[in-house]
C-alpha cells in the first residue's frame, strides 16, 4: 500500500480504537462527572477517525463504515497501545494522557504537512485535543497527589503502558518517502519531542525512565497485533458479519 495511505490508516485506526475503548466506560465511570467527560472524549475520537477515513476515501479507498467494520485485524494499522483493554480508571486516564499528548505533537507537525487535505484536518483537530490534554493532566495531578493507593495505581499504569506508548512512534512503512515529500516529519523526531514534554509534565508526580531505557512494543503499523484487537473487532464487527447486506 502507498505510504500516504499507511499514514492515514495509522491515524484513523488509532482514533477509532481509543474512542471504542473510552466508550466502554459510558455508564460505568467512578463518578457521574467523570463518566460524562470520558463519553465526550470517546465521541470526539470516533469523529476524528471518521475524518481520517474520509481522507482515505478521497484517495480511492471505500467508505468509512466499510473501513471500520469490514477489515480484519491484520489490516488494522493502529499502535498496540490503542487496542489494550481499558483496565481500571487510572490505566484509562494514563493511556489517554500518553496518547493525547502524542496526538497533539503529531497534529502540530501535520498541520504543516505538504499534503493539504491532511494539513487541514490536523489544524481543525488541534483545538479539540487541547481540551483532552487539559482533562487528562487535571485528572493525573489529582489522582497522582491523592492517596497512596491512587498514586501507586497510576505509577504502575505508567510503567506498564510506556513501552506501548513509545510504540505509537513506530516507523510508518514507507516513511522515508513521506518525509522526503514533506508530508510528515520523521517519527523519531516527534517521539523525542513527545517524550521531552511528557517528562516535563509528569516528572513532579511520577517516576519516568530515560527514553533509551524503554523497549518499545511495536508491530501495529505493520498490521501485527495482540489478541486484544481480535476480541475487540469480534464485538465491533459482529452485526456486520451476522447480517450481510443489512441497512443500519
Amino acid at each position: 500500500m502507498e505510504p500516504l495511505k499507511m499514514l492515514l490508516f495509522a491515524l484513523a485506526d488509532d482514533e477509532l480504537l481509543m474512542g471504542h475503548r473510552a466508550s466502554e466506560w459510558t455508564g460505568l465511570g467512578p463518578i457521574l462527572e467523570a463518566d460524562l467527560a470520558l463519553s465526550s472524549i470517546a465521541q470526539d475520537e470516533m469523529g476524528h477517525a471518521l475524518l481520517f477515513y474520509d481522507l482515505l476515501g478521497a484517495l480511492g479507498e471505500t467508505e468509512p463504515d466499510s473501513l471500520a467494520f469490514g477489515r480484519s485485524p491484520a489490516e488494522f494499522y493502529n499502535a498496540i497501545l490503542c487496542e489494550l483493554p481499558r483496565g481500571d480508571w487510572g490505566e484509562t486516564l494514563m493511556r489517554h494522557f500518553l496518547y493525547d499528548l502524542a496526538e497533539q505533537v503529531r497534529l502540530e507537525a501535520l498541520a504543516a504537512s505538504s499534503y493539504a487535505p491532511l494539513a487541514a484536518v490536523a489544524t481543525k483537530l488541534r483545538s479539540e485535543e487541547k481540551y483532552h490534554m487539559l482533562h487528562g493532566s487535571t485528572w493525573l495531578k489529582r489522582l497522582g497527589q491523592g492517596t497512596e493507593e491512587s498514586h501507586r495505581r497510576l505509577q504502575s499504569s505508567l510503567d506498564q503502558l510506556l513501552p506501548y506508548a513509545v510504540g505509537l512512534w513506530e516507523t510508518i512503512p514507507g516513511e522515508a518517502a513521506l518525509v522526503a515529500q514533506g508530508i510528515m516529519p520523521p517519527s523519531n523526531t516527534l517521539r523525542d519531542q513527545w517524550y521531552a514534554t511528557l517528562t516535563s509534565v509528569l516528572t513532579s508526580t511520577f517516576a519516568l525512565p530515560a527514553l533509551s531505557d524503554i523497549a518499545p512494543v511495536e508491530g501495529g503499523r505493520r498490521g501485527e497485533h495482540s489478541e486484544h484487537l481480535v476480541s475487540l473487532l469480534d464485538a465491533m464487527q459482529l452485526l456486520h458479519r451476522e447480517f450481510p447486506g443489512a441497512k443500519w
Binding site: 470516533m46 469523529g47 492517596t147 491512587s150
Partner: protein
C-alpha cells in the same frame, strides 16, 4: 431529634401553613427548596426524584452494553451520546433531589443496596440491536409523555430539570424512530428482529406508567399537591394515542389481541397486562434486576479508590490542581 417540626399535622401551626401551601399550588406557583412544605410532600418528592434518577442511571446499562456492537460509526457515536445523556440526566436529577436534603452518595448507596426502586423497563434484557432501537423509540417516547406531565409539577428544581431532560429525550426518540425506520427498510431478518423486540417490550412498556388508578393508593393527594399532575391511566392513554397509530403505520403489530380503538370512548383499549410480573419486577425480581444492580455495584466498588483520592484532594486545598 425529638422537637416537633411545623411540617407535620400534629404541630399547631401545620393547618394554617398547609392552607397557604395548597393555595400557592392552586395558583400554579412552584415550591422552591427553602419554602415551607409538608414533611410528607418532601418525602414523596424525594422518593419520586430519587427513583427517576435511579432509572436514568440503571437505564444507561442495557443500552451501554450495546455501544461496542453498534453497527456503524454514526450509530456508535449517537448511542454513546445517548447513554451519556442518560447519565447526565441522573446527575441533574440527583442534584434536584439533593435540594430536598438527601445527599447523592446516600441515594447511590441505597440504589446499589437494593433499597430504592427504579423503573420496571430496565429490568428486562436488551437481547438484540433491535431492542436498542425499540428502547430509544418507545421507552423514550413513554418517558417523554411521563416527564412532560411531571414537568408541570409543583416542585421547582424537579420541574426545571425535567424541562431540559424532555428536550434531550425528544432527540433520542427521533433517533430511535429513525433507527426503526431504517431497520424496517432493511432485510427480512432485520424486520423480523424488530417485531420480535416489540413483542417482548410491549407489556413492559404498557406497565411502565404504573398500576391502574383504582389500584394506586396515593393518587388523589399526589395530584392535589402537584406531585403528579396526571394519573397513571391518563398518561398511558396519552402514550397509546400518540404511538399506536405510528406502530401500525410502520408495519408493526403488538402482541395484544384486545388492542383496539374505541370510537365511542375515544380511546385505545388494551388487554390486561401481567401485573403480578410488574410488582415482582419493581420489587427487584425482574429477569435482569440482580444483574443490573451487580453491574452498578461493581462500577461503584471499582471507583472507590478514585473517589477517595478526590476526597483527599478536597481536604488538602493547597495541592489542588489549578
Amino acid at each position: 431529634m425529638t422537637q416537633m417540626m411545623n411540617d407535620v399535622p400534629e404541630h399547631p401551626e401545620y393547618a394554617a401553613r398547609l392552607i397557604e401551601f395548597e393555595a400557592r399550588i392552586d395558583r400554579g406557583e412552584k415550591i422552591e427548596p427553602d419554602d415551607w412544605m409538608p414533611a410528607k410532600f418532601r418525602l414523596q418528592m424525594i422518593r419520586l426524584i430519587q427513583q427517576h434518577a435511579n432509572s436514568e442511571l440503571i437505564g444507561a446499562l442495557p443500552e451501554g452494553t450495546w455501544i461496542p456492537y453498534a453497527p456503524n460509526l454514526r450509530r456508535k457515536m449517537a448511542l454513546t451520546a445517548k447513554v451519556q445523556d442518560e447519565v447526565g440526566h441522573a446527575q441533574l436529577l440527583y442534584r434536584a433531589a439533593e435540594t430536598l436534603g438527601k445527599p447523592r452518595e446516600e441515594m447511590i448507596e441505597e440504589l446499589i443496596n437494593g433499597k430504592s426502586k427504579w423503573s420496571n423497563v430496565f429490568a428486562y434484557p436488551a437481547e438484540t440491536w433491535s431492542d436498542i432501537a425499540i428502547i430509544a423509540w418507545l421507552i423514550d417516547a413513554a418517558a417523554i409523555v411521563n416527564q412532560t406531565i411531571m414537568a408541570n409539577g409543583s416542585y421547582g428544581p424537579y420541574s426545571r430539570a425535567l424541562k431540559r431532560i424532555c428536550y434531550e429525550e425528544s432527540f433520542h426518540m427521533k433517533h430511535g424512530e429513525d433507527m426503526i425506520i431504517t431497520l424496517m427498510e432493511g432485510t427480512e431478518a432485520q424486520r423480523a428482529q424488530v417485531q420480535d423486540a416489540l413483542n417482548r417490550w410491549y407489556w413492559p412498556i404498557i406497565m411502565f406508567f404504573g398500576p391502574h388508578d383504582k389500584e394506586s393508593v396515593h393518587t388523589e393527594q399526589l395530584k392535589r399537591w402537584g406531585v403528579k399532575p396526571k394519573t397513571n391511566d391518563e398518561q398511558r392513554q396519552e402514550f397509546l394515542g400518540k404511538y399506536m397509530p405510528r406502530i401500525y403505520e410502520l408495519g408493526l403489530t403488538v402482541p395484544d389481541p384486545d388492542m383496539h380503538y374505541d370510537l365511542e370512548k375515544d380511546e385505545w383499549v388494551h388487554g390486561e397486562a401481567p401485573w403480578q410480573e410488574f410488582y415482582d419486577v419493581i420489587n427487584g425480581k425482574g429477569p435482569m434486576s440482580e444483574e443490573r444492580l451487580a453491574t452498578r455495584r461493581m462500577a461503584y466498588d471499582e471507583g472507590k479508590w478514585v473517589r477517595e483520592a478526590l476526597a483527599m484532594m478536597e481536604r488538602l486545598p493547597h495541592v489542588v490542581a489549578s
